[in-house]
Symmetry: C2
Subunit: 319 residues, 2 copies
């Protein structure tokens, strides 16, 4: 009988989450280890392998694991490397052959690796809002803006494995905001959590308009969300602006791959009540007539606490 | 033995070109019929079928034709329909089941249909500059701007068969030019033959700068090209501007699908000597660091006179 369980690993800058997952997308057990504080990659891989072994024992699934799926910043599906990931100190300045190292540390069990946004797309297709879809685009609205593109049932990796950097397509051509990537005007500079906070701060500085946000020393996107829930006019306008920026970029993405749906995921997507309407409106105002009202705008259906693990684990079913 | 020849049909607004093609991409014989002047689709299909039969007899390949490939405006690969194509009077207001009609008129021979830009991409992949490539983007710079996207060796048709409308992604966000599609600021409004002529006209009207183009009643992109060859400063700047607009959009396309190359095709691509440098420069200035200098910018290698037929014919090899 085929092995019926997989392990999903979500490598984040500070912590990494591990879970044992069944074919229905239930996370049986999960644990967390530190990602930071490791001097080199071998050190981290050893700790991760030990934690995986321990978790599989705890789940009572020794010998029943089909493979390991890993979602990691700058993870490359083709090469299995995590390369030059600024937020991972042990992979910031080199290309780490992560899949091979982890597989070796676990006695040869197969490992599949991709970046976090692609993993989220595979997770959504396997267990979530995109179940049964062959053509959709996943947009992750977190600290940054990431994307996973699925065409004909397959994640688009491109010639080099790095396709799907939609957060760095141009949203504002002239005098756009500086983005962390070195370019200006990127979608990420406006529609990430950081972008939302920045919009609020800029608008507060520009006017004397009263706002709940004015009392705060440092504004986060969560503060903007809380203020919007209180009916704060400026906070509500920040979401309208953010949605309009996102929607008009989504229109261009539709013109590229004609997806059945666009799925939003991540922290900012939790502000669904404020972000959906302006995004959907701008998307349809800016897209070619043939797609107006034809492409669904959906939100992730994966449980927030499990989503990252599920996304990564879904990769392992293809092993 | 497999049938060793295919027929390519390029349906244009005024004329349609037909050719019998061998596996090496040589057009053995070709002919042309009128597309316009037909009262309805059945009428045109009957004429086209007669012309195809006649040409196959002339090529002495009766019984050796594997299939027919058709490139047509608004051609849908999935449905085999030509639907609501403004430039085809017999398909302007309805969805014509073109593949089925042509196949029936030819005794059941298989017919494959797609739009002209996708056909060009398949042609380039089969016989031209993209031979052996699995990930590339074809941009057709003609009266309009079209595109054919190839990912993992397959043309991207999307959920509905209409993917790849890159000419209508947004090049200018604010106060962009009106495009024929109804939107404003589309890439096509700047980087098509019509866009080039319009840029020249706008600049002539705005200044008193001397230019060879000033004498002309009506300016075409060919006039701008001829003037640029004479060293006309304004004409040269028009190409620099057009290339810069195109290049920065190409950067976004790279961020989508990480292609190995972008292939330019069509009338404007013939102005290679003026368009290549500003396009390549802007593409690399606007793309994420990881792709700088990594994606080739190529020009079609198909003979101009045969290209449209070859592109369409290449579809038939997949039948």
């Amino acid at each position: 009988m085929d092995k019926q369980y997989v392990v999903g690993v979500d490598v984040g800058g500070q912590t990494s989450k591990i879970g044992v997952v069944d074919a229905r997308g239930d996370v049986l057990v999960q644990s967390v280890i530190r990602t930071d504080g490791h001097s080199d990659a071998a050190d981290f891989v050893a700790d991760l392998a030990a934690a995986i072994k321990e978790l599989v024992v705890k789940a009572n699934k020794v010998g029943e694991i089909r493979g390991i799926g890993v979602g990691a910043p700058n993870g490359n599906y083709y090469t299995g490397e995590i390369a030059f990931a600024p937020n991972l100190e042990w992979a910031a300045n080199e290309a780490v052959p992560f899949s091979r190292m982890l597989s070796e540390a676990l006695g040869g069990i197969p490992v599949s690796l991709t970046n976090d946004a692609n993993a989220a797309a595979v997770g959504e297709m396997t267990y979530g809002a995109a179940k049964g879809m062959k053509d959709f685009i996943m947009i992750t609205l977190g600290t940054g803006v990431g994307s996973g593109i699925v065409i004909n049932g397959q994640v688009v990796y491109g010639h080099d494995g790095f396709a799907g950097e939609l957060g760095h397509t141009c949203a504002v051509r002239n005098n756009g905001r500086q983005c962390n990537c070195g370019k200006t005007g990127c979608l990420e500079a406006y529609c990430s959590a950081i972008g939302v906070a920045r919009t609020a701060r800029e608008w507060l500085d520009m006017t004397d308009e009263p706002s709940l946000l004015r009392e705060l020393e440092k504004i986060t996107s969560k503060d903007v969300y809380e203020a919007a829930k209180e009916g704060d006019a400026l906070a509500l306008r920040v979401f309208n602006f953010t949605g309009a920026m996102l929607g008009r970029s989504l229109a261009d993405f539709i013109e590229f791959s004609a997806p059945e749906a666009i799925v939003l995921f991540g922290g900012l997507a939790r502000s669904k009540e404020f972000i959906y309407e302006p995004t959907y409106k701008a998307m349809n105002e800016n897209v070619l007539p043939l797609w107006k009202g034809k492409v669904d705008l959906l939100f992730s259906q994966l449980k927030e606490s499990d989503a990252a693990i599920l996304g990564a684990s879904a990769l392992a079913w293809e092993l």
